[in-house]
C-alpha cells in the first residue's frame, strides 16, 4: 500500500540558510501534519493542514512556514536555520473526514533528517 513520501531523506545546511521539506500524503488523505523530533527527544507537533487550510498549530518557530497545495502535498519551509533545528522532521497524513470514524489515526512518513552545520 502507498505510504507517506517525504523528500529529501537527508539534508545538510549551513547556519542561516533556508531549507524546504516536501511531503506527499497517502492517496485520498486530505490532512497533513508536520512533526519535529530532536536527538533523544519525543516527536513534537508543528503544524497541520486540512483541505489546504492551516488547521492546528503547535510549537512551530516563526522562522518556519508551511502550506498544502491543491494536490494535497505539503512543504515545510525553514529559514535562518539554527544549529538547534537539526532534527528528524516527520510528515503524517490522515483521511480527515473522508475516512473511518477512528479518532485521528495518523500515518507517518520515514522522515527527513536535517543537519545544520
Amino acid at each position: 500500500a502507498a505510504g507517506v513520501i517525504q523528500s529529501p531523506r537527508h539534508l545538510i545546511k549551513e547556519k542561516r540558510e533556508t531549507a524546504t521539506l516536501k511531503c506527499y500524503p497517502i492517496p485520498r488523505h486530505d490532512t497533513v501534519y508536520w512533526y519535529q523530533q530532536g536527538p533523544g527527544q519525543d516527536p513534537q507537533f508543528l503544524i497541520s493542514f486540512y483541505e489546504k487550510m492551516q488547521s492546528d498549530k503547535g510549537s512551530i518557530p516563526d522562522r518556519f512556514s508551511a502550506q498544502q497545495f491543491s494536490d494535497y502535498h505539503s512543504e515545510l519551509n525553514m529559514s535562518s536555520l539554527e544549529l538547534g533545528d537539526s532534527a528528524l522532521y516527520f510528515c503524517a497524513s490522515s483521511p480527515g473526514t473522508s475516512g473511518p470514524l477512528a479518532k485521528n489515526i495518523q500515518y507517518f512518513g520515514a522522515g527527513t533528517r536535517l543537519s545544520v552545520l
Binding site: 501534519y33 519525543d42 503547535g58
Partner: protein, 110 residues
Amino acid sequence: AKTTQPISMDSYEGQEVNITCSHNNIATNDYITWYQQFPSQGPRFIIQGYKTKVTNEVASLFIPADRKSSTLSLPRVSLSDTAVYYCLVGDSGVADGLTFGKGTHLIIQP
C-alpha cells in the same frame, strides 16, 4: 490527558509483554491510542480503543471500566519488537496534532 508510562522495559523473545499507561484525568470523549517507533523512523499506529478490550493482528489493548489506565499487550515478542511505545490519550479531532509524551523503551533480548 497526561499519561504516565514506564521509561523502559526488558523482555525476551517469545514472551508476552504488557505495557501499562496511567491516565487518571482521562475525559469522557478521550480515546486511547498506541504508536510504535523504531530508531530514525516515523511513529506507526498500533491500536486504538475507548473501553474494554480491542484486539488486532499486532496487539491487544485492555481498558478497565474506569478508563484511568490501559495496557498494551504484545503477544510472543521478537527482537524486531524492540522500539519505543507511546500511549496517547485525547479527543483529537480532524487535523489536530498529536501530543507525544515520554514513551516506553522496550528492549527484547534473545
